[in-house]
């Protein structure tokens, strides 16, 4: 959606030479670093924090004194901020920013884990599993939005995918039939979105929101009419098998997470690469970006604007529908009403936070997945930090990102604008 509407209306003060983006980021890092050092350092008990590498609590582990770690990483955060603020190492700006944020997270972890242990394998695999639907949902968004169609119906596509996967998967007794019908479920919502917004020029955001409610209603209705009375024949889908790649699966931490996993995770990761390559290196990608940025110009050189938008929105439906399959065919063994519970909107957040690019979406999805995993871990060990606040993180991070407090996110120029051939 175009963020440019007000931009040119509000009095944008001429960029002051001193407060560059780097300086503002640096100051923010210094501040949170100071908070981490003082607050986390003071609160952390001086006991060892163990990050275990193997599955059991007693195995090999990285150990650090919690209080020392909290202060050390807090200082590191502030130091990274200092480097940015002083205007040094301009070329490595993003790397230093990443380092600063990582240190802050580590400082927080040292405080929380002090006197306890954090299983790294479980945390990492949980992060990937929670991020999995977010990656697929965000990729669906990338496909649509880069060609100029806003997709806020990711939630609805998830729900339809999850529902269709469970229903057909159970009836056919095959997880692959479930996966394919999940894709079809996503496509159904995508097709309505495409026809109404491209052919009938209805506002894309409006259609998307209404479709979310439609999907919520229709899956809830059929759930109560079919699945609840007879779960055995309608709502016991077979589960996606876990496959192990011998050799690679023995690598510590990474191995069990990435190479002893279900097919969906691999599909998601491969799709990130494929869509990235497709967008930047193929004819389809160039045309998609042209249509998303300047449809009139694209049309003049003979690109079929509406056709390409239809194609991309439907492809997005396939991807989001597969993402929905995760909920019923991988995460849980059955469909329940409104089971996605806002995951589609976190995927939307990942899309925006990841700056509408596949790899950005992947990074954002992993970050949000980690926050969710951490929330469950903290509530399990009885941390004073409420899990609800960690779960707010994706939403707050996205607000900060779109408000341009830390680097403005720019949407494709023609995002959300219907194209009418003149």
């Amino acid at each position: 959606m175009s963020t440019a509407t007000v931009e040119d209306l509000t009095e944008v003060a001429a960029p002051e030479p001193f407060w560059t983006r780097q300086r503002r980021l640096g100051l923010a890092l210094i501040l949170i670093g100071a908070i981490a050092t003082v607050l986390f350092g003071a609160l952390a008990p001086s006991e060892s924090a163990r990050f275990t590498l193997s599955e059991d609590a007693e195995g090999a582990a990285l150990t650090i004194n919690g209080q020392f770690g909290a202060i050390l990483f807090g200082v590191l955060t502030a130091a990274a901020g200092g480097v940015l603020f002083a205007g040094l190492a301009k070329r490595w700006q993003n790397a230093i920013l990443g380092l600063g944020i990582l240190s802050f997270v580590l400082s927080f972890l040292c405080w929380q884990v002090a006197g306890k242990f954090l299983p790294l394998v479980d945390t990492t695999s949980g992060t990937f599993q929670l991020a999995l639907p977010l990656i697929l949902g965000a990729l669906a968004g990338v496909l649509g939005e880069r060609s100029g169609v806003v997709n806020v119906a990711i939630e609805g596509q998830f729900l339809m995918g999850a529902f269709a996967g469970a229903l057909i998967g159970t009836m056919a007794g095959s997880v692959w039939a479930g996966l394919i019908s999940a894709a079809v479920g996503g496509v159904i919502i995508a097709a309505i979105l495409a026809v109404l917004s491209i052919r009938y020029l209805v506002d894309q955001t409006v259609v998307g929101m209404v479709l979310n409610l439609f999907a919520l209603g229709i899956t809830g209705f059929l759930y109560e009419r079919l699945m609840q009375p007879d779960a055995q024949s309608y709502n016991t889908p077979p589960q996606m098998p876990t496959w192990r790649i011998p050799g690679l699966a023995d690598i510590p931490v990474i191995g069990p997470v990435l190479f002893e996993a279900n097919l969906l995770l691999w599909i998601a990761l491969i799709l990130v690469v494929v869509i990235h390559f497709g967008l930047n290196r193929t004819r389809w990608g160039l045309r998609t970006r042209a249509v998303g940025e300047h449809p009139t110009a694209a049309d003049t050189v003979g690109i079929r604007v509406r056709g390409l938008r239809y194609l991309n929105v439907l492809l997005g439906g396939v991807v989001a529908g597969i993402g929905g399959a995760y909920f019923t065919l991988v995460a849980t063994g059955s469909f329940t009403k409104n089971m996605t519970a806002g995951a589609g909107f976190i995927a939307l957040a990942a899309l925006i936070f990841g700056r509408y690019s596949p790899f950005g979406a992947l990074g954002a999805a992993l970050f949000f997945g980690f926050a969710q995993k951490l929330a469950t871990y903290l509530s399990a060990v009885g941390s004073p930090v409420p899990s609800q606040f960690l779960n707010m993180l994706p939403y707050l991070a996205t607000i900060i990102a779109v408000a341009g407090l830390v680097g403005r996110v720019r949407a494709p120029a023609a995002d959300g604008l219907p194209y009418v051939k003149s």
């Binding site: 806003v150 439609f214 209603g217 759930y223 604008l417």
Partner: protein
């Protein structure tokens, strides 16, 4: 639908044109039709009769008809009242409370929807798509609820203070995206979506805190709102409360604000063309921030109505879906205050009827959500309805609903 002979009189000609009344009616008709199909295909007994359709088609058709007829007649009875209850009342064998209970339910469900619907509609007129009505309603629930059980103020005063608190809570939550839009250009759709979930997470944390949670309960529920802060109702089966009258007043207020006040003029000017409005000396940025605060206050009042009128205590799901339903209500009401009011009444009726349909005919209440979404989809795409029914083009048909620029 086959093409019919063109009607002669100009009244009939206009009736079959794509004007907003006809489109609304036909959209509802289409939605009900699709709903009927859903009812039939989700019933295994009736579906089994379709198995031998070619041998005895009447079996399947009459079974389908019976199913649909009972479901929809229960829907109407639950919304407007059961004719038997009315005749019992007139004959003196039943009470008037029982006869009017369905209408009371309709009004009870409609009251918060009027507020959230007005919130979305008002923002729309200024060119903003306020998806955040849900979050603003949640904030309104929180502030109204907390004020409602915290201070033991006397009757009426306590209620008014709680309502005002709800409005302020919602206004604050609405002001944030408005301010961000004005200052940084952050798109309100994205920020409000994110604020919705932030608000509900905050609520689910808050109800478990000491001083908020009901000390006698272990589950997530707050202390009950003081009786002096509750919106007065008839009691018994008649749950309808003062909120619907406030909703009526709010509709009149928004209609006045939009059509008669200087602020309303600015809102409409900015909504029509922000560049032109700026040239004319209106500050779009200021209008956006103020407009979102006012819209938020309305949604907050919706939340307050919900807590003070029906729920009487905070739970994580106290706001239900009133914000998102308000979105549909505003779209159905084409963003005009009085149309929005009646759209909210229709949605309240569907909801009240849906409850009866669920308990009497065993048809899931979710069917109502499907009907509501379908009605709005068809309303939002008048060209689609026009194509399906081959309506004549109407002179006063606009391209679609007046919508915010996405």
């Amino acid at each position: 639908m086959t093409a019919e002979a063109p009607p002669k009189s100009s009244f009939a000609r206009n009736l079959w044109a794509a004007n907003s009344v006809t489109v609304t009616f036909l959209s509802t008709f289409l939605a009900v039709l699709i709903g009927a199909v859903l009812i039939v295909v989700s019933d295994s007994e009736v579906l089994a009769k379709f198995g031998y359709f070619t041998a005895r088609p009447t079996d399947a058709l009459s079974a389908s008809w019976d199913l649909i007829a009972t479901a929809y007649s229960d829907l109407v009875k639950g919304a407007l009242g059961d004719p038997e209850a009315y005749s019992a009342w007139f004959a003196g064998t039943g009470t008037w409370q029982d006869a009017l209970a369905p209408i009371s339910e309709t009004l009870t469900y409609a009251a918060p929807l009027v507020f959230t619907g007005l919130s979305v509609a008002l923002a729309f007129r200024g060119g903003l798509f306020n998806i955040g009505a849900q979050g603003q309603a949640v904030l309104g629930c929180i502030t109204a609820g907390v004020v409602g059980f915290s201070f033991g103020l006397p009757l009426v005063v306590n209620m008014l203070i709680a309502l005002i608190a709800g409005a302020i809570g919602g206004a604050f939550w609405g002001f944030i995206p408005g301010f961000l839009k004005a200052r940084t250009g952050a798109h309100e759709v994205i920020t409000t979506i994110m604020l919705n979930y932030t608000a509900s997470l905050f609520l689910s944390w808050l109800v478990l805190q000491k001083g908020i949670q009901d000390p006698d309960r272990t589950d997530a529920i707050s202390k009950a709102v003081a009786e002096s802060a509750q919106l007065p109702s008839f009691g018994g089966v008649l749950r309808v409360h003062l909120g619907i009258l406030f909703a009526l007043a709010a509709t009149a207020g928004v209609a006045w604000l939009l059509n008669r006040s200087a602020f309303g003029f600015e809102v409409r000017a900015v909504g029509a063309n922000p560049h032109a409005a700026k040239t004319a000396g209106i500050s779009p940025a200021r209008t956006y921030a103020l407009l979102m605060a006012v819209a938020g206050a309305l949604a907050g009042l919706g939340g307050a109505t919900q807590v003070l009128g029906t729920a009487h205590a905070l739970t994580p799901a106290v706001a239900g879906n009133i914000g998102f339903d308000g979105l549909l209500v505003a779209l159905l009401g084409r963003n005009k205050p009085w149309s929005t009011f009646f759209a909210a009444l229709l949605f309240g009726a569907l909801r009240a009827g849906g409850n009866r349909m669920q308990s009497y005919s065993g048809i899931s209440l979710e069917l109502v959500t499907v009907l509501q979404a379908l009605i709005v989809i068809f309303i939002a795409a008048p060209a689609l309805v026009k194509a399906i029914f081959r309506l004549r083009a109407s002179r006063n048909l606009r391209a679609g609903v007046t919508l915010a620029k996405g």
